[in-house]
């Protein structure tokens, strides 16, 4: 499989501009490629799809799937992706995934082989390779059983295998995500992957960051609706790692509430509830406030440690 390079750049002004020609950017995992070549190929693919030439149904489906995934990947890069579009694309991906799942459950062997043959014959399918690269990134991180199989069979089959498992978790992570900025609503709303309630606020922030990095290659699109990527710098610090063994429980009650109070009032995003301020151990606290709380606690701890 020849290595091809994808060049990606997104200008902040290009968000869904109607009048300017829409540029098609794609994100690769270290792959670069001339943009014009890619565009030509994609345009060729789309028109081939539309004219139903030389494309079997599974290939068409694969093409659409690839387009969806690359779009979601692109959206993830945006500061503020469009929820409406993301939902539509995610539904399309789910629908295709469901179809593929049904097919593989009916014919576990034949489909793969058949696809492998077809995709080898099909020329100019750069996108399939590219998307394989995309998802193989996911695959590596997930390190599931698909690894062995994808090594044996052509990449397109690996793509098929990968998409099924990874996509379901990827789609879950698209929509789940961090509603921190959002409603200070009942704790049931806000559950990081597999988390349970009694986690203290600091660890919640950490855990979520871990989840994010796990599924980095996938489409954590909906999460960014609540927390923009730019706030990740606060979580990326991972300061808490150093101080994990320090018991800060006595500071929770002191420091959680006061910093929250003044910053909650001018918060631009709360809209609905009339609830009183959440208790400091509630997982429904604002993550920024969690981080700020963390930092103020850490300052205090540092002062104690340094003895100043």
């Amino acid at each position: 499989m020849c290595q091809q390079q994808l060049h990606c750049s997104i200008s902040p002004c290009d968000r869904w501009s109607w009048c300017l020609p829409v540029k098609w950017f794609m994100l690769g995992r270290g792959l670069k490629r001339k943009l014009s070549d890619y565009e030509e190929n994609m345009a060729g693919l789309s028109s081939a799809f539309d004219s139903s030439r030389n494309l079997t149904y599974p290939l068409k489906r694969q093409l659409v799937l690839n387009m969806c995934l690359t779009k979601l990947q692109t959206y993830k890069m945006l500061v503020e992706p469009d929820l409406h579009r993301s939902v539509l694309i995610a539904n399309t991906v789910r629908q295709i995934q469901e179809e593929m799942r049904q097919e593989t459950s009916q014919q576990p062997v034949n489909v793969c082989n058949g696809l492998g043959l077809h995709s080898q014959n099909y020329t100019g399918v750069d996108s399939a390779g590219i998307s394989a690269q995309l998802l193989s990134g996911v695959n590596q991180q997930e390190s599931n059983c698909c690894d062995s199989r994808s090594a044996e069979e052509p990449i397109e089959n690996g793509l098929l295998m990968v998409s099924d498992d990874d996509m379901s978790s990827a789609i879950s992570s698209i929509l789940k995500d961090l509603d921190f900025m959002e409603d200070i609503s009942p704790p049931t709303c806000l559950v990081p992957a597999g988390d349970d309630q009694p986690k203290s606020p600091e660890n919640v922030g950490l855990k979520l960051e871990d989840d994010r990095q796990e599924l980095k290659g996938a489409e954590c699109v909906f999460g960014s609706f609540e927390i923009s990527n730019s706030t990740s710098y606060l979580k990326d610090l991972a300061i808490d790692d150093i101080f994990e063994d320090i018991d800060t429980s006595m500071y929770d009650s002191d420091f959680c509430c006061p910093p929250q109070m003044p910053s909650r009032v001018p918060s631009a995003t709360t809209e609905e509830t009339l609830k009183t301020f959440p208790t400091c151990n509630s997982s429904s606290t604002n993550s920024i406030q969690i981080c700020r709380t963390d930092l103020s606690e850490l300052d205090h701890i540092m002062e104690i440690l340094v003895g100043s």
Binding site: C19, S46, V79, M181, T269, T273
Partner: protein, 563 residues
Amino acid sequence: MPFSLSQPSRSRNPAPSKPGPHSSQPGFNSVSKYFMSARGRCPQSQHVEEAGVFPEGHTGCSAREPRQHLSPSQSRLTGALPAQDSGSSPAARWPPCSGGAGGEPTRVPSPPPPGVAGGAGGGNDFQWCFSQVKGAIDEDVAEADIISTVEFNYSGDLLATGDKGGRVVIFQREQENKSRPHSRGEYNVYSTFQSHEPEFDYLKSLEIEEKINKIRWLPQQNAAHFLLSTNDKTIKLWKISERDKRAEGYNLKDEDGRLRDPFRITALRVPILKPMDLMVEASPRRIFANAHTYHINSISVNSDHETYLSADDLRINLWHLEITDRSFNIVDIKPANMEELTEVITAAEFHPHHCNVFVYSSSKGTIRLCDMRSSALCDRHSKFFEEPEDPSSRSFFSEIISSISDVKFSHSGRYMMTRDYLSVKVWDLNMENRPVETYQVHEYLRSKLCSLYENDCIFDKFECCWNGSDSAIMTGSYNNFFRMFDRNTRRDITLEASRESSKPRAILKPRKVCTGGKRKKDEISVDSLDFNKKILHTAWHPTENIIAVAATNNLYIFQDKIN
């Protein structure tokens, strides 16, 4: 000095007309009676509750604890029958909205007599001709100049446009000139103001666009005009008023504004009003902010003229025009687990006559009609409109193209129209299982869906509109084409908004897209359509055959040919 009453010919301050025929029926009070007072009398069950706390056994309101309450609209909050209210001044100012005569809340009563008089028949019995075009001619279009919404006011004398740069431009129709009987009044710029500025949300490190998503006029009640304009997050109520007189002869101030020394004044005089050049001022009267987490896609003024709704992707809020610090959430489709999100709200509108009824459309091609009398939180619909899918036309993009981009009630209130990517559907409110009429706007695009998906055109949100008598509908397409469908004769026409056909009173030539085979002369093939030139926003004058079509940064005004 005689007091001069002369006014420039352009200034017209018509006395507010009586409320239109559709609001003259006696009926229920304004919907504001359903808002909880601070003291908390639930109008349904008459239970009284302390602030926010309901007594046990209270089942009158929705199961969810109400989160926000609006203060009562003075005397209107009693749940009493309208007869008791008719004497008070608020009732006189805001006519009671017509409601159904008791019975089930979901029953939609027979429509009132057509509220809009006059207007020619369908869209095709006559010819459309060019009237005006507004906007720059440059090939290079600044993104801030792209028009994002167009709306006539209730009388049709004012036409408002909003653009991506956050500006609102209002055109006013000039008086018809006796010396030029062949031309109807032209629309000229009346007021321009900056409605929204780009904002930066520091908490999320996001820039909030200043693009005006929607403008909705309020019915006129005095000499001033009011409109609501919204961007993604904030709704503003603007007052546009005229000033054509100024006072001269102040005692304490010089003509140039310098203060006079009171001790130097030896005689007093009465200031005199003198005419001046007409000045149109726009001032923001209310700012409704911080109520939406997602992007606002619709606003709709209620028929009670006191409240309005704003809808974003997952929620719909109900506001009172006088109250800016609180709104009432009436629809919330956000799942507890965002993982399960499969559907978003795409548009919402109040019923034109029933102040308790509204509809909202979804990205799955469904429309829900809700009755606010049934519960405080209208998560459960009263009616559910969905057309079963045609299995023969199923494709990967079926769901995407079924997403409804606009929903509009007819003026009569009996029908509603929805626009999805390829078609326009007219629904009878009494029939939920399928639309009564379906019009294909650009079916030739069905075979191009993959390319349109790739360049994101498949996500374009086209709007649609009714004519004044509900006999015709109009919507936009690509290549600066727009389509009109006559519901009675079933004829349709495709016209183009272009500079080439922009000679005054030039008749527009119908256009045709060639779908296959040999291309006839004057036809255009699908592959040569310009997908960057899209007409998303159109508006039809409420009583006459005048249409406004927004083509990127230009606003075209067409009217029917006068014989």
